[in-house]
Symmetry: C2
Subunit: 239 residues, 2 copies
């Protein structure tokens, strides 16, 4: 049975199989070796994630087959400011922290050997957010700020450290890229092609660091390179 | 449990999660609704496919969970000419026909309700094949011809008709596109972005015709549009 890697998160995960998306790139990299299972839920915060986890992971795990890894990528919605137009998605920082801990506990209890990777929210380009509100923005102030996203990102990294699991500090990584607002994001929040590449590379490296990188996984059936043109069927004799 | 759609085929399937690939596009279209499971095996013909089917579908089916649909996309390698540089991949036409029947029978026996879609090989641009041989080509003649691919394509359509299952006649469809050699293929055999779009649209339409299109499938958990901003948690009460 092929290893599974489950991508659990919000819209940045849900959209990850679009053109140039980090999820599709991962599935492409790990073809013949692992299945990448998409469990992204647009708009969800950690509070809603906890409400649905039982169902998400009952199905994704297919009754017993444990995932090799799960990426947990929430916080962009939790970090919406409470008094602004997307305030209904806001989750207070302390609750976000506790919710992340609960998500990690849930997965660790169910599958002790599964690698859990926490990913922080990306940085926010506030100007672009004013041009792309999710719902009508009558206040003229962005519903998310980069500062708030940064606070949630730090908390996410702290939870990972506390739980002794890897974290990808996307908020910090992306801001190292010159002109990250335009380069990495298309609407101040969701990923451009470059932004997707950053997440793909970070996830790939983290999986590698945990011993389940592309080179660590085995192909399930003979590669064409291993088929002897003179006696092709012998490659399949031992199956 | 989410419906599964398994993509079973050769390199044109294996590469389908690359940039602009038809498999990734299908996974993106059906996000929140179905899992697209990649089972592409570069270089394989129907003879080798039959050798590995038991293992492929044991794993892909995850012990009991039947796929809603399986695409069966072989023939490009079977149609290699026997006396040319990729002759070791060649399968005679009558055996190809019988092998396709056996693949369909295998799936029908295991999962009588699963939709099986046969896809013909694409057309071949022979000039480009001379520039992109898989192994050293000392003869100066292409290892595949468009005419041979067409014969295998017709046979594939005939098997689908005989088995009363849908077929996608890619060989014919693609040749309706002006300049298909350059537009649809990048090396005379494998799909360009446009070629991937053709396969994606054909598969999408065929699934729709079988009652498992994007509009027929339901989302597994509340969409953000269905969350009441005034009482967000009520959307999750009934889970």
């Amino acid at each position: 049975m092929r290893p599974k890697i489950v991508l659990f998160g919000d819209s940045i995960t849900e959209e990850s199989f679009g053109d140039g998306g980090w999820g599709a790139s991962l599935a492409d990299l790990l073809r013949r070796k692992a299945d990448v299972v998409l469990r992204g839920y647009s708009g969800y915060n950690t509070r809603w994630a906890l409400k649905v986890m039982e169902r998400v992971f009952q199905a994704a795990g297919d009754g017993g087959a444990y995932p090799s890894a799960v990426t947990v990528f929430f916080g962009a919605n939790d970090a919406c400011l409470p008094e602004r137009c997307s305030g209904f998605q806001h989750v207070p920082l302390l609750e976000y922290k506790q919710n992340l801990r609960s998500i990690v506990s849930f997965l660790k209890n169910r599958w002790p050997r599964t690698v859990i990777i926490l990913i922080t929210p990306p940085p926010i380009d506030e100007e672009a957010r004013l041009r792309y509100p999710y719902i009508e923005n009558t206040i003229g102030l962005p519903e998310r700020t980069n500062e708030a996203a940064g606070t949630y990102a730090k908390t996410c990294v702290a939870v990972a450290s506390e739980c002794q699991i890897p974290a990808i500090d996307l908020w910090s990584k992306m801001q190292q890229i010159p002109n990250w607002q335009i380069e990495c994001l298309w609407d101040g929040l969701h990923l451009s092609r470059v932004g997707n590449k950053v997440v793909f590379e970070e996830v790939t490296n983290t999986l590698k660091g945990e011993g389940i990188g592309a080179e660590d996984l085995v192909v399930d059936l003979p590669l064409i390179e291993d088929v002897d043109p003179k006696k092709p069927l012998t490659a399949f004799d031992e199956l």
